[in-house]
Symmetry: D2
Subunit: 355 residues, 4 copies
């Protein structure tokens, strides 16, 4: 496919943004969000011999010419410079991100990486959970964990943002306020029982994502061993021995519902617990709290960038169940990446993320 | 619930629009489209003691006050006048529409009715297919059938638009161009085998829409007897003896795929057939044509106002299969209603209907 | 519908069994199991003016006469005597069971009740969790909890068996062996995060079980308050303050997967834990244990009477996750009821329950 | 995996049956049916280095030894002789069946092939629809088409039975009686609009069967070009120019519903039409006819070997809609294969096929 230049821009220069890895579920979602984002001019960079195959067999409005397709170019460091790209999103496997992120940064662009390559603390932790050597330990040390609800101020100046994993986004948003306020009996253990839609398992066909395997079924996997556990520990302060995490596969396309169980150090009321969340997220437009009596469910959060939180307290005032819900492809991936972009470039945080 | 006034409007006066019947699937979809429509100011009119119950248990953004809810008022003819409503959408059962549409029109507003009350030719036809007397035969005679692809010019001046049924929208868009061009061997019969998502069966709980009944199942109903048949006959010119229609229930939420079978009077090429569609819909932005080789499917048309059309010709050049796809709640209901509104009030036809 | 007598029986007299309440999901499943059970002669008793409506519109083999239908009679205490019924299954709401069980027992038959009417400890506990007065406290005291894996010997002689709830069956089978062996740090709390298919919510149409509400969705309900909690406490010895239970609704027809989290008093190995289960269930043909490395899932247990158990131990040897899977309509209802019948009448426990 | 011998058999010698290709959906279903078949002793033959991997991670009943697995041996012509196999089922791709069926027959066993290799009339027809040369034209000429409802008497003596395709089974059962009785206006064309569950697309992972692609979607494919068309033509006498066939993919696991449209030569009554079916299938226990007013659906036919037929006649007495339903894996594959085996070996035709 020949390279197509970005349209010339006049007046208030839009943000010049590139996406590498736009054929997976997160990449597709990200391109959709960026195309509707008013302040962005988008370029697709083809890392492998990619092909915008969707165009071939798609229906075309009658009486209109065939659409010309999106601006794109082959990936290379010079493409970043030639197109004066301000920011590159990489929605690539971690080993690819490790390869290309250094070149992107050297070419003068900032980067938001949607893989797990730059989310952990150091090379040792990466080796343990990803079973692979980390080839860029210096960049790993510089990367900022891109959960704006916790790290907004660091994100503003970050050159490299590690966009959080989907499960950790749901778990950390639910657990962090209570742990920060030191309300939790950590010795009793914290449980996060998480359920995800199938898009979280990626787009590559496999026996595990075949329709006949998934429909009318439900399964647990990677019990206590999921590589996302490390992100949760790093960003909540929990020790591994204090945290039990199970990942489970729902027969739906998208959405994560995490049911978190905590024991409070001393009895509290539901009002007090909800006040803790309101305080922690007073500046966070994308965290919503269920009123008492609501029934948490995925359908109201899917296709949005919200993280919904629902609390139930036992009659003893100490057993606490916190349900958190996100769309794994939006708040758990592409939406959060756009939210990070907005923070990095001084745009209103919700630009392009509300309906 | 106390009445809340519409916000005051200054500068270019927006269209003042009311919706009666906003709790069913079409009504909910319609309210969502109108809230995002830049040229519209929306008022909900409560026909029965309705309650915007969704607000009670919905999650609320942290640190923000509880949302005040949408502007609404009790339905009455005077509410139309007091709020200077230009247009009322009725997403009500046909018997309710027959009651309130006359009052709406007398109050000076125009109306788009989403029920079947005003879609047929005359009271006799209504009696036959709806098994009920039509109480407003004069209004029935005045009503314009709201399929803009066929009747755009009549819709411009209509006081009452009868928004088409979902199945007829899919069937007529597929069949009309070929019949108009007199290419079809009508004596051989025309078949429309239609499949719909469950939202088409309405929101009232029933054994027929219970999850356990629908999932892992597929069924045919109202074979050759569906009340939507009359709309198709009226707007294609087919006789009942020339048309076979089957409705079927898919285990999905939304979307209609209709597989239409026709026999051509004389052999044609696929290019010729596609040219007929392009000519018929040269001014229609919402009809899309699949290129040869594409595979028609609901996922690319759902959540849009498009009607996608896909043609396959047999090796004899006479057996023709035309697949048409719509979202039953958008092009088959709420989106088409907004499209009609745009036509009636001189707005760009696609306003509020793209993305 | 006229009463049809049971077929005469000669030779080894089969067990004469009646079912009251055969139109709900559990009742339908139960009738299917009993019809295939070689040692049983089945009579349906119509409690309300019921109608075997399935027969009317069902397809009929060509060339065969219309099937005569199943033996049935109006419910009355004398029907039990007239038909010499040995055992009555009641798959009725608890308030109906409270009414008719005393009459059944007085008529000389034994009874297995599938409702919650006779599962709890005493009238006070029933009042608390069912928000209703228990009208048969004496029978409640006599009833035997019908979980054969725990109470086989009491069931042998029981006149009234309270068939366990679906969630409690999954939870108790997972938790009881470890608690009995005193391995659990109860002070740290025990979590049961349970997910059920929609048939568990019953057959009556409701907004909560509409296909459009359930599909592509997942929700939590009755968090910490589900009435099934009391059954789990009674049969594991846990105190309410030690147990956190969440019920959740899966977009599938059937199956319960419960993910249970426990903290061990002192570190153990997975082999030791599995040995505890093997010992506890050495005589239990219907409890299966996953080998290490398996991935627990509903598809292998659905449509069977098995309860599958899968254990994962954290690297500290103390965090333990026990996943238990059952078919809520079989091991969680009708299959367990047949298993109880087999135990009560000296039949091989698995008769009629293996494919 | 070491070879395990068939258990020794005494008294009435069971039928000695082998299956080659037991890991696909049809093969798994077939093995399940044969294991429950009272008159059969089953051997699995491993064509490629296969592995009964299901055993590794499956749950095992507590207190019982690990199951030893099924009898199996490496495929070779001598294995047929050594194990004195009477009948071999091949559930293999057509190119594999073409290779191994000659060797099976030469080894003295009879064969039922579930692939498309031997279903068509001659090598020319095979070349046209399968786009490949047929390497065994002589065997093709000898093979009997295994639809017992039409060809029972030929099947009795057949050495090689070609088990029909799933779509053709549904189409032929619906169309054949009316065409045989010469009631159909063939010039007007016959339509078969068929919808299948995803297991019909096979077990190999592909983008087309990914859960995210299938769920909440519905698509048409191979319109007018499906290779199953030739089987329908051969067995109904229709010409290609008289028959329009569309295959469509339902978001369910199993089941085919085919909606067939015919025009009668002269007006008839529904009673007359149903009498034609009853006469055609007077000896066919597996074809069932819906009474007038029923609503055809997959849930009542799935997991059975029945083919259900439902007729609707237009008010003109000439437009006829015939809906036929089968389970694609049972009557459309494995169940029909067992039915053929029963016919070939003089067993009651329904042995092992009625729950």
């Amino acid at each position: 496919m020949p390279s197509t230049p970005l349209p010339p821009t006049g007046g208030a220069r839009p943000l010049r943004v590139a996406v590498i890895g736009y054929t997976g579920y997160s990449g597709i979602e990200l391109v959709g969000l960026l195309e509707r984002h008013a302040a962005v001019s988008l370029l697709l960079l083809d890392h492998r011999a990619a092909k915008d195959s969707a165009l071939d067999a798609s229906p075309v409005p009658c009486g209109l010419p065939t659409p010309s397709g999106r601006a794109h170019a082959p990936w290379s460091p010079s493409a970043i410079r030639d197109h004066q790209i301000d920011l590159v999103f990489t929605a690539t496997p971690p080993e690819v991100s490790l390869d290309i992120i250094p070149e992107i940064l050297r070419s003068g662009a900032r980067a938001i990486d949607l893989s797990g390559a730059f989310r952990l603390r150091d090379a040792g932790q990466y080796q343990r959970w990803y079973k692979a050597a980390h080839t860029q330990p210096d960049l790993l040390a510089q990367a900022v964990y891109g959960l704006p609800e916790l790290y907004r101020e660091k994100i503003v100046d970050a050159r490299l943002v590690a966009n959080p994993g989907c499960y950790p986004t749901a778990a950390i948003c639910a657990l962090w306020p209570l742990l920060k306020a030191d309300l939790v009996d950590r010795a009793a253990g914290v449980v996060c029982d998480a359920k995800s839609g199938v898009s979280g398992a990626g787009k590559s066909p496999s026996p595990k994502t075949h329709f006949v395997q998934i429909s009318e079924n439900f399964s647990a996997y990677a019990i206590l061993e999921h590589r996302h556990v490390a992100e949760v520990l790093n960003n909540t302060g929990l020790d591994e021995s204090e945290f039990s995490f199970t990942a489970q596969l729902l027969p739906i396309q998208r959405g994560i519902l995490a049911t978190n169980y905590l024991r409070l150090k001393k009895p509290a009321t539901l009002d007090e617990i909800q006040a803790v969340y309101r305080a922690a997220y007073s500046g966070a437009g994308f965290v919503r709290l269920y009123p008492p009596g609501g029934q948490p469910q995925l359908s109201v959060v899917n296709h949005t960038n919200f993280c919904d939180i629902h609390c139930t307290l036992g009659s003893d005032g100490r057993r606490l169940v916190v349900v958190s819900c996100i769309d794994n492809l939006i708040k758990g991936a592409a939406g959060q990446a756009v939210q990070n972009m907005n923070v990095m470039f001084g745009l209103e945080e919700s630009t392009g993320l509300l309906a």
